[in-house]
């Protein structure tokens, strides 16, 4: 186990504060960078994210080449507002429309690979209340400066909003500490060095993302780490301290559902890797109970655990990003 990874591949955002320098390296390496914001009813936060990113990382410093919003049929004004402030907005269901349709964050991230143009794709959740452009440039920094790093993940001190206008200084990360880190400790001890494996902010090279499968729901962050680790090793991963991220606090039941989905993804992965051999297929139903009029009633939530295959296996994608060369379709990009 490489225990020095934490020291070697952990950065603070301030190391990449000189955005002009990042732009110079980006241009020297002839890279293009896309920012993707997956959305579902984010009208309260989407405008601020787009405005700040566009101002700081496109207008003032051309670090980003495009800002893309991939939306899961929001019923509020998310798409309208995002378009108004200059993002390219897509409904997930309109991308690769011939494929079976699913709804979920992972689905949006996967489909973003088809519509973005960048060599590097930055994924940020669209509900960050204290958004700052460091959320993007700090994830890009390690990727363009260090040749060995292909995937970069955020971590932060996570204050959570406890009431409308009050902030509790620390907290959050319950699913990570109660489930993910114990699981990693059991099966992938090296990965315990990733401070916040479930953070929704990460960036990586297209050549990595296109070769891994994407669960359509909550499990996408876990599967991404496991797949990248298995294929390219921990040295291809970095993490950046973004200091503070204010996010919506979720109740225990919601976290239970999230945990179920992540656990299911995790079990699938370790079975695929031959680490465990379960005799029975894990169930698809998360069952929770509510006390209604003095009687417990089950609340059943189905998680089928669909996954999109590596997008490089989709012919439309190959045609767009790996067109025929000398009559042969390129299916593999450069080895890392």
């Amino acid at each position: 186990m490489k225990i020095n990874w934490l020291e070697k591949n952990t950065f603070h955002y301030s190391k990449f504060k000189n955005i002009k320098e990042l732009v110079d390296v980006k241009e020297e390496k002839r890279l293009t960078i896309s920012l993707c914001l997956p959305t579902l009813n984010e009208e309260k936060t989407i405008a601020k994210e787009i405005i700040i990113m566009k101002s700081e990382l496109m207008t003032r410093y051309p670090l980003l080449d495009e800002i893309i919003v991939v939306d899961s049929d929001s019923t509020d004004k998310t798409r309208e507002i995002a378009r108004e402030y200059g993002a390219d907005v897509y409904k997930a269901s309109d991308i690769l429309p011939d494929l079976e349709k699913f709804k979920g964050k992972g689905e949006n991230l996967w489909k973003a690979l088809y519509i973005t143009k960048g060599d590097i794709i930055v994924y940020l959740d669209a509900d960050i209340k204290n958004i700052h452009h460091r959320f993007a440039y700090a994830l890009i920094g390690p990727l363009i400066i260090h040749d060995n790093i292909k995937y970069c993940k955020a971590f932060y001190d996570r204050p959570i909003a406890i009431s409308k206008n009050k902030i509790r200084p620390t907290g959050g990360g319950r699913v990570t500490e109660l489930m993910i880190r114990p699981l990693f400790s059991l099966y992938f001890p090296e990965l315990t060095q990733i401070i916040q494996p479930l953070s929704g902010e990460y960036a990586g090279f297209r050549e990595i993302f296109e070769k891994i499968s994407f669960p359509i729901g909550y499990g996408v962050e876990t599967s991404m780490i496991l797949d990248i680790y298995e294929k390219w090793g921990i040295d291809a991963i970095a993490q950046v301290d973004l200091e503070k991220r204010v996010h919506r606090n979720q109740d225990t039941k919601a976290l239970g559902k999230m945990s179920f989905t992540i656990l299911k993804t995790f079990c699938n992965r370790i079975e695929k890797l031959g680490i465990i051999d379960s005799r029975e297929k894990p169930g698809d139903y998360m069952i929770q109970y509510n006390l209604v009029k003095n009687r417990y009633q089950p609340d059943i939530y189905k998680v089928e655990g669909f996954e999109r295959p590596p997008i490089i296996e989709i012919p439309e994608y190959r045609k767009k990003f790996h067109p025929l060369k000398n009559g042969n379709e390129i299916t593999e990009s450069v080895d890392l």
């Binding site: 405008a47 601020k48 405005i51 101002s55 003032r60 206008n165 009050k166």
Partner: protein, 407 residues
């Protein structure tokens, strides 16, 4: 009262054709300013999300400096009182500087959630109109001036001033002007709301507190111990009986009251906060003395401790309506299809009064329209901001063309 009177030949100060040239450019300015709206909004949001209660403005000062340096102003520094200042160098070495100022402090404490929300045409958050919009505009001015391709003869001093409101008592701006080594050509005080505001005079004001405290060990036994709230009530009644003149215009605003411990216990303390406003400093002083007599009388008669304290004060000062700065600012506002409206600042403290009392021609301009002033969900409209900035640039150009200059 300080009065700044132009000489008898306003045409010497300002040639009409220069004003009309400025006016002609304003509509195109609005469009150009709108083209970098993301940067302007970002500046408003990033500065506004840093809590900055009066006396605790350090983080905002640092960000202000850092941001101005990023926008490549020619000089970036703080004065001896820690007011952060950015300077855009002008072409002339002899013309005095033009000041554009906005206060950095807000009424909101640190533990309030300062994260702003942006909706289609609104920025929402504590302190957004008072005064993040204005500070964000100051931070954006270097980039806006570059985009508009304007070169000023005078240095432009972009000053974020600290300790302005409440107990701050305009300490930041007072210190800045007291210590500024050169003459100042003219000044614009920028306020978040309301677009169309054109203030060129400021009331004399004294802000006071009366505190009543009754010790448990006093000569009263508990049964007949006087009630501090009722004592304060008596003070209020007597203040309300004062006859205030219509000329000079004078008023007393009773704005704050607190006291007592619980429902069934005689209150042993109570506090009253109020302001005396008048066109005339003399009248403010005279009303203050009358209130002092009331306080002394009640204190004596009821044998209670009753203290009158002055928290802050501002001298009455003004430009005349026919001052070329006021006239040209008015023309600029009208050119943008807005109606100039003048009123002494509704937020009592005003940087304007300090400029005017130093005999520096100055006006206060509002940037946008807003709602819920001084509440946690303050709202500032986005679209009017671009006209608001265009008028500031127009007035800066007018000052740079000599509107405030004496022969």
């Amino acid at each position: 009262m300080t009065k700044i009177i132009p000489n008898n030949r306003p045409e010497n100060y300002f040639k009409k054709n220069i004003l009309s040239k400025i006016l002609d450019q304003l509509p195109s300015f609005v469009d150009l300013i709108r083209s970098i709206r993301e940067t302007i909004i970002t500046n408003i949001v990033l500065i506004g999300q840093i809590p900055s209660p009066t006396f605790k403005e350090k983080r905002r000062i640092n960000f202000y400096m850092e941001r101005l340096a990023e926008f490549q102003v020619d000089e970036c520094t703080t004065d001896g009182y820690q007011n952060p200042i950015g300077i855009i160098r002008g072409t002339s070495e002899t013309k005095p500087p033009i000041f554009v100022v906005a206060h950095l402090d807000t009424i909101f404490e640190k533990d309030i959630d300062h994260n702003f929300t942006i909706k289609e045409n609104l920025i929402i958050g504590p302190g957004v109109t008072d005064n993040s919009v204005s500070v964000g505009v100051l931070l954006s001015l270097p980039e806006i001036i570059r985009r508009l391709n304007i070169r000023f003869q005078s240095n432009i001093v972009l000053a974020g001033v600290i300790q302005s409101i409440g107990r701050g008592n305009l300490r930041g701006i007072r210190h800045l002007l007291k210590m500024w080594p050169t003459k100042i050509r003219g000044a614009i005080c920028v306020e978040g709301t309301k677009l169309g505001k054109l203030n060129y005079y400021s009331d004399g004001m004294t802000r006071c507190e009366i505190e009543c405290f009754i010790k448990a060990t006093d000569i009263w036994d508990n049964k007949f111990r006087p009630n501090a709230i009722l004592i304060i009530n008596d003070v209020i009644n007597q203040i309300l009986k004062l006859r205030l003149p219509q000329s000079p215009r004078t008023k007393i605003t009773i704005g704050k009251i607190s006291g007592g411990l619980k429902h069934g216990t005689t209150a042993y303390n109570a506090k009253l906060g109020f302001e005396i406003h008048s066109d005339s400093d003399k009248m403010v002083k005279s009303v203050f003395n009358e209130i002092k007599d009331i306080v002394d009388g009640i204190s004596h008669e009821f044998r209670v401790e009753l203290k009158l304290k002055t928290i802050s004060n501002v001298n009455a000062s003004r430009l005349n309506f026919n001052h070329p700065l006021v006239k040209s600012a008015s023309a600029i506002i009208k050119k943008l299809d807005l109606k100039p409206e003048s009123e002494p600042s509704e937020t009592s403290e005003s940087d304007l009064s300090i400029f005017l009392s130093h005999k520096i021609p100055a006006v206060t301009l509002g940037i946008t329209r807003g709602e819920n002033l001084n509440q946690k969900n303050e709202k500032a409209e986005i679209d009017p901001i671009f006209k608001g900035i265009a008028q500031v640039i127009g007035v800066m150009m007018a000052i740079d063309n000599g509107v405030c200059d004496e022969d």
